[in-house]
């Protein structure tokens, strides 16, 4: 086994990992940074983010507005000090990306343009057509090549962290291309491995979004926080779950049911207006829109697609070809290529699909986890800005704001930490290798892991979907326990060393099952409804007495995770009513007048 001695190891080279690497390289060019990614960095799932990144820039907007939208949008489960920090840093980070070359869409005068997004009271979403994440990722990757201290390990798969003496000291990785293992030693480690949406059946996520970093931290005793909050995006392609950005609605697209009726007006989001109105109708938050779809389905007002999925229509015909081509070219292409539809003349069938993991690895405001030397940033982390429901265009900002923080914090930690003694921890790396090889080579009972993966995704959708019921969540928890048992006995077809993707997927499934358990048990124990966690079994209301609290899931070997609760940091916005549409406007006006918080 090879070994590599770094000062800082970053696992994951999407938006957060690349931003962290650049921040660390700028903070101290003398430190050696190892940047590990299981795919080429530009394949990372940041690439698929479409709509844009929020940052206050208009004169009539304010940081306070962005703070308020985010905290209320998260149904008060946000860490308010973290949100304050986030909204303050979001715009400087967007300007930094502009300086590095992101081709932000512009106004005629050459200033950066912004668009409306769900749950945001003023337009503040910076966008690069509908390829915002793509451009941010490529710009960060290309910019990162400037820094000689960043040593990339492209297409290296992370098997486990190395933890000794109460602190993280590196990770064991596998190169699929050569079949060789490497122990990478480092005094500080940043996890930036993305979300876990692939544990659900219909989802918008790339195949790589399998919760690897979450599971690795979890297994080393770091709590996963608020994992039951899983975001359904309301407008996705039936069957595959491919995303149609919220910007479709920000630019004026309508959601209509099978009768051509803009049904959102029936769910407290009205009144109807022909032009988009912020925080109303189609620009309501994602949880509310996905829930409205579910209700329409029960009322028989959706239709069934050729794939057997129920759906409503995203209608953009009134926007015209020119606007669609300028603002939403990717969406236009997806409808044409994948569905054979022309969105200028035909409405697009859409339905909700799992999109984003609000919860993640517990960190403080400095991205530090409870495990010394371990930091986490981006979707894999729970730094506290999303609460029970993330607002669209707050996650790209999270990548850069907290990727930056993680890079600087890791530098600070690494400089103050003792050097790793490879002789002392090499056995751990060897044990990780042995474990991986044992999974590859075990005789097993002959079952394919692909079968388990499908059953996991189906049970997560059934028990932890848009609306949840106690017995169904319990059934999902039981099913996951059964799948974990069967996982121990799987048989791989491929026992080779080079590009054994059968093996990699099997290891990923192990990660996914652990993360799925944290989600399902967190959901079962949260006996209230808040944000993306909505119950229909007697717990339909938000319960601030018992559950204005973060869920903490702790890993237990061979048993279900232990669920406990921790306090939520409320600094200046006490819990209030979360309202959109006409009622939302009333409350907002009252807030401005100072008559109501």
């Amino acid at each position: 086994m090879d070994h590599f001695e770094a000062d800082i190891l970053i696992v994951g080279a999407g938006g957060a990992g690349l931003r962290a690497a650049i921040a660390a390289a700028e903070a101290d060019p003398s430190l050696k940074i190892a940047l590990v990614s299981k795919v080429l960095p530009m394949r990372s799932h940041t690439v698929a983010a479409e709509g844009g990144s929020a940052g206050v820039i208009q004169a009539h907007d304010s940081l306070d507005n962005h703070f308020h939208d985010t905290v209320a949008g998260g149904d008060w489960l946000c860490e308010q000090d973290v949100v304050d920090f986030f909204v303050g840093q979001a715009t400087p980070e967007l300007i930094q990306l502009e300086h590095w070359g992101v081709p932000w869409s512009r106004r005629p005068d050459g200033a950066v343009n912004v668009r409306a997004f769900g749950g945001m009271k003023i337009e503040r979403t910076w966008f690069a057509a509908d390829r915002s994440g793509f451009h941010i990722l490529h710009t960060l990757f290309q910019t990162s090549t400037k820094y000689p201290s960043i040593k990339r390990f492209d297409e290296y798969f992370c098997l486990d962290l190395i933890v000794d003496d109460g602190r993280v000291q590196g990770a064991t990785v596998l190169s699929p291309s050569t079949g060789e293992f490497t122990a990478i030693y480092a005094r500080a480690v940043i996890l930036a491995t993305g979300g876990a949406g692939r544990v659900f059946r219909q989802n918008t996520n790339g195949g790589i979004v399998t919760g690897d970093g979450m599971a690795m931290a979890f297994r080393h005793g770091v709590p996963l926080r608020d994992m039951e909050f899983v975001q359904y995006h309301p407008t996705c392609m039936p069957g595959t779950g491919i995303l149609f950005t919220e910007a479709c609605r920000g630019e004026g697209g309508h959601l209509i049911n099978k009768d051509g009726y803009r049904y959102l007006q029936d769910y407290g989001l009205g009144p109807v207006s022909p032009e988009p109105r912020n925080k109303a109708m189609e620009l309501g938050p994602r949880d509310r829109l996905s829930q409205a779809f579910w209700q329409e389905e029960r009322k028989g007002r959706t239709f069934t697609t050729a794939q057997g999925e129920s759906a409503v229509y995203l209608d953009m015909r009134h926007l015209g070809r020119a606007k669609l081509m300028e603002r939403l070219p990717l969406i236009f292409g997806l409808a044409e290529e994948f569905m054979g539809l022309d969105p200028v003349t035909q409405p697009i069938p859409v339905r909700p699909a799992v999109h984003y993991t609000m919860g993640g690895i517990l960190t403080d405001i400095h991205t530090a986890t409870p495990l010394a030397g371990l930091f986490a940033a981006g979707e894999c982390s729970s730094v506290g800005i999303h609460g029970a429901n993330r607002l669209g265009s707050n996650s790209l900002g999270e990548l850069t704001v907290f990727g930056h923080v993680a890079g600087e914090q890791a530098v600070k930690f690494a400089k103050g930490a003792a050097a790793v003694q490879p002789g002392k921890v090499a056995d751990q790396a060897k044990a990780s290798v042995a474990k991986a090889l044992a999974l590859r080579d075990q005789k097993g009972g002959g079952e394919r892991h692909a079968v388990l993966r499908k059953e996991m995704a189906a049970t997560m959708e059934k028990g932890c979907g848009i609306y949840r019921l106690g017995p169904e969540m319990q059934a999902t928890c039981d099913k996951l326990a059964e799948l974990k048992q069967r996982y121990r006995d799987i048989t791989l077809e491929d026992r080779s060393g080079i590009w054994n993707t059968d093996w990699l997927s099997a290891i990923e499934l192990g990660y996914q099952l652990d993360v799925a358990e944290a989600m399902a048990h967190g959901a079962l124990e949260r006996k209230e409804s808040r944000g993306a966690h909505q119950r229909l079994d007697g717990f339909e209301a938000r319960d601030d007495v018992k559950f204005l609290a973060h869920t903490l899931a702790k890993y237990r070997e061979g048993a279900a995770p232990e669920i406990s609760y921790g306090p939520v940091k409320i600094t200046r916005l006490p819990p209030g009513e979360r309202a959109y549409g006409a009622l939302g406007e009333q409350l907002e006006n009252a807030r401005k007048d100072g008559t109501h918080v």
Binding site: V47, P92, G101, F338, E493
Partner: protein
């Protein structure tokens, strides 16, 4: 099932769409056991909305777990799943079965690259080419964060925007006859990226990048076949980028010549 209506119902049901099948002929190569690549054949049930990628996933999940290929986003933006489909470089995720002619579908790894295994080719040299062209803004006029964003008009944005849409899928390299003959040729994708930065009003790094385009593996290796632009799934038009750089390279050559006088 005593209700007579219930007992007759199955006979009226339409044929399930999954009855259709398709054969895929896939070039297989396992370096640890195979001397040379050879074709394997798989027949799977398909539906009209399936992509070649979904067909490959079906094979991997149900027939042969040893089949290896790269994929991720499924929506033609991550650039992972480039391969030769019926002899043409395509993204497997956005190539729908219903758009292919009837009969077996041939799937091979991207042309012009070493095969590591099955449909997985070596990408390292391509990444090095990208890194070699100074793929970042070298500011014409440095600016601090406090000074805010640069001004860039929609026309200035349009000057480079399409080149910034390259997803690094390498289809253009698989199509390029020059790259096939000379693997050191900088190639269409990297040249599009070079033009993306050269054409950006914020950038002042054009001089530094000239060496890449002058050299014997630079733009002049291109014989203007133009097929790179034909196969691009994102309409980036790398052929146009190469041509613009031929102009720049020629201009620079003559300017240097004049200066020598």
């Amino acid at each position: 099932m005593s209700d007579p209506a219930m007992t007759t119902e199955p006979a009226k049901m339409p044929e399930p769409t999954a009855q259709k099948t398709v054969e895929l002929r896939i070039l297989r190569y396992r370096p640890e056991s195979d001397e040379a690549p050879s074709f394997g054949s798989f027949t799977i049930p398909v539906t009209d909305d399936m992509s070649v990628l979904e067909a490959l996933q079906t094979i991997k999940d149900t027939l042969d777990g040893t089949l290896s290929f790269r994929w991720s986003c499924r929506m033609a933006v991550c650039g992972s799943c480039g391969m030769m489909i019926n002899g043409e470089p395509k993204l497997a995720c956005s190539t729908l079965l219903r758009k292919l002619p009837p009969g077996p579908i041939t799937v091979e790894p991207l042309n012009n690259f070493p095969i590591e295994r099955d449909l997985v080719i070596s990408v390292g040299d391509f990444v090095k080419k990208i890194e070699s062209i100074y793929p970042y803004i070298i500011p014409k006029e440095p600016r601090t964060i406090a000074e805010g964003p640069y001004n860039q008009t929609p026309a200035q944005l349009a000057a480079y925007e399409s080149y910034s849409d390259c997803i690094n899928c390498m289809l253009c390299y698989a199509a390029c006859p020059q790259f096939g003959e000379n693997p050191d040729f900088i190639g269409p994708g990297a040249m599009a990226l070079l033009q993306r930065y050269n054409g950006d009003s914020r950038d002042g790094g054009q001089k530094l990048r000239l060496d890449t385009i002058h050299g014997e593996d630079g733009v002049w290796s291109c014989t203007a076949v133009g097929i790179c632009s034909d196969v691009c799934p994102k309409q980036v038009n790398p052929a146009h980028a190469v041509n613009q750089n031929k102009t720049n390279s020629a201009l620079d050559f003559f300017l240097r010549f004049l200066k020598k006088d």
